[in-house]
Symmetry: C2
Subunit: 457 residues, 2 copies
């Protein structure tokens, strides 16, 4: 007696779930139908800035597994097909074939919602003008590359200075554009504390990327032919031949909301650790459309990252397939770069700690990526937060050059294990002159944090 | 009422201890006398291969703090002065001024033994010939560089294929030598399992370093002028214009042994976690002359590494100075490289696990340092050992190119926290295409290890 699994969304979470379920249960036991409104499946959205910037040669390199490959593995993946309604009571979804315009219902025994996120686009006049681009999907990347080819000049404005913003600033710089980044906060990279964001700001200045602390965009101004010519705020106009929106994303949960499924404070679906939607028996959700437990603060967060989507998809597929797996939550690790500047964070910022009601000490140290005397040793700044009294590690932020970003992983594991900064000072981290000073920068920060915890009493 | 601290040995452990004690207690409270038989203090012995190879410009770059700098900080450091006896009952040490040949006694209230390690030199005819060099001290490095300058040809033989052996092979290759490494084991890097050592072997072959599985050296053959001309084993002769000994080190504990202090199975001093010598009230020891607790196997090991020496010195100085600190032990992390090949290990090898009575599964995975599509993505092999039944992580070995070595730190923290491989699969490690595939290689290995633990039952 065969069951049917329906998957909504053909990217990381959805197709990881489908693939893992297929590994565990053959087509005779489980039929799998997946709906994807775009043309592509299982691609690396995180790679789009590098494709646009020219580091990655072509679109297809970003595709881990094409629709044809999924179909060859026994997954009935329908592209250009958008689910328009979830009928929980009837155990069916309604889907529209975007080419034909026809709609039909498909029944399910088990449902996976992996609808991803959508860009938070400023709702201002002209936002839909030619030359204004999001960078969420491969289609977005194609449109942006076409737009760059046809741009009348070389002035680019990036709205937003988060991960996508700074990565797109690099990409456009690599394409020979004069880049202005409009930033709503005091410093770029609001996922860092402002003092660490300032280091990113200075480095971007040094690269020739102009970062402007700007008020919100009020209008996109266009030329006679309808293409963007400038971005306006209440204070200024920024001339632009192309505009990239890096204004963040929100969970795409309109279908889930309409179906009455539980959403959290950030608009994402709420699940249990097996990634089953709370209160549901046969509905799972994963990827950018869900909220995740932050293991450090104990609160739910929205963390749209491909690595979580893949893990969650794997967990869902295991559970759907009759095995057992859980997604434990996140500690908030993220790494990025702008040209050769590496940026990393994990755990709580000062602001997060305050909001979570945690008293903390914060320390910052300067060190190097290699022994000071070894060629290529590059400066690195490490900021560390520890809880007052207990000394529990709360968060780490790192800004530096080669070797800075992935050092944050040590802190990510330490956060997961709820280590104290005192316990971290004894960590047996790899040491050799080409790879680290004799005291690794993370250990130097831990030592300083220990002293700060003691001093704070 | 002032106390006197005597420190035997002026390198990492001894001078870290002295410096930390001085930070906590001023000269009016604590007099500090340190004895060093060489001319230098506080230098990076680990940096010697890079100085010899030409990556580091000069000797002085390897010196973190000179004798003069220590003296300026209120530490009476006597160089070229060798302690020849410890009189525990009399609380005094006898020291010989190597220049003058005079001896005198110095009393102590507290004693720190940081006598380091000495090379395990093959006891064969000719081993003392000109052109045969250890690389333990800065003096050794100077002698080797002089020897290279005067070498009659360009053939180098390195005896031993551990860390020093492979690093010196790189250094001599960089100096234009034709390098032969004589290896007693089946593969180089016996600190890895043989299957991982084989990858190092292949890479060394590719670099033009000849690695020979050789029987023990039986004789060093010399020319008429007394300089080395070849290294002989029972099977073969290896022509050599210069020979470097990378045959490992043993704890230098002859003074401690003579004083009746407790030594372990590896010949190192035994201490408690505060680094106080067992059974002693006012004697501490740290650095290459002590044994340390291996947190994974629960056994004592000898791990001569600058990073441990520095940490232990810091701990000793804190305790001597009236504060409190402990050295928790090690998990056995070590990183190295040969040209662009990075080599890392932590925890137990298969052999170690067997000797420790632990049943285990071992898995090996191939992955890349970055997203496969990102420029510079380099192959990486990760081997992981987990305990049967419990799934506790036991060890990780990594061989690869850029970005391979320091990835072992994740496993080092996980070992310290006694994580299971199942727990590791959920780790929130940094992901972005320039830094990692969407599943970090360590996570891929953990997933495979989970499956192996289940399969082993």
């Amino acid at each position: 007696m065969s069951e049917r699994l329906v998957v909504i969304g053909g990217d990381a979470a959805g197709m990881s779930a489908a693939s893992q379920a297929r590994r565990l249960r053959g087509p005779g036991e489980l039929e799998i139908t997946a709906f994807e409104r775009g043309r592509f499946s299982s691609y690396s959205a995180c790679g789009i800035p590098y494709w646009v910037g020219g580091d990655v040669a072509g679109r297809d390199e970003l595709i881990a597994r094409s629709p044809e490959e999924h179909r060859a593995r026994g997954i009935d993946l329908l592209t250009r097909t958008e689910v328009t309604e979830i009928d929980l009571a009837g155990q069916r979804v309604r889907a529209r074939d975007l080419a034909l315009g026809t709609e039909s219902w498909t029944g399910f025994d088990k449902l996976v919602i992996a609808t991803g996120a959508r860009p938070r686009r400023p709702d201002v006049p002209g936002i839909g003008a030619a030359g204004v681009h999001g960078v969420q999907t491969l289609e977005d990347g194609e449109a942006l590359l076409d737009s760059l080819a046809g741009a009348p000049g070389r002035r680019a404005v990036v709205v937003g200075a988060g991960y996508i913003g700074v990565e797109m600033a690099e990409a456009l710089l690599n394409r020979g554009y004069e880049v202005t980044v409009l930033n709503r906060g005091g410093q770029p990279m609001a996922t860092l504390d402002p003092d660490m964001g300032r280091l990113v700001h200075a480095a971007m200045d040094g690269l020739g990327i102009r970062t402007v602390g700007a008020s919100p965009v009020t209008e996109v101004l266009t030329r006679a032919d309808g293409r963007v010519r400038a971005v306006a705020t209440k204070d200024a106009e920024y001339p632009a031949d192309v505009v990239v929106l890096g204004t963040g994303v929100v969970p795409e949960t309109s279908l889930a909301r309409a179906a009455g499924l539980p959403l959290g404070a950030h608009g994402g679906l709420l699940t249990d650790p097996s990634m089953r939607v709370r209160g549901q028996r046969n509905v799972w959700a994963g990827g950018d459309c869900v909220e995740v437990l932050d293991l450090v603060s104990g609160r739910e967060r929205h963390v749209p990252l491909g690595t979580h989507a893949n893990k969650q998809g794997q967990v869902i597929g295991s559970n759907v397939g009759g095995d057992y797996a859980t997604f434990p939550g996140v500690v908030g690790t993220a790494v990025s770069k702008v040209c050769d500047l590496e940026i990393a964070r994990t755990g709580l910022r000062e602001k997060d700690a305050r909001e979570a009601g945690l008293q903390y000490v914060a320390v910052t140290v300067e060190s190097t990526s290699r022994a000071g005397y070894y060629p290529g040793a590059a400066a690195m700044t490490v900021k560390m937060l520890a809880e007052r009294r207990t000394g529990r590690l709360l968060g780490v932020q790192i800004v530096g050059r080669e070797g800075a970003a992935k050092r944050v992983d040590v802190a990510a594991v330490a956060l997961t294990a709820r280590m104290t900064v005192e316990g971290m000072t004894g960590l047996d981290l790899g040491y050799a002159p080409p790879f680290s000073p004799v005291w690794d920068p993370v250990l130097i920060a831990a030592r300083k944090a220990v002293a700060a915890v003691r001093a704070a009493g």
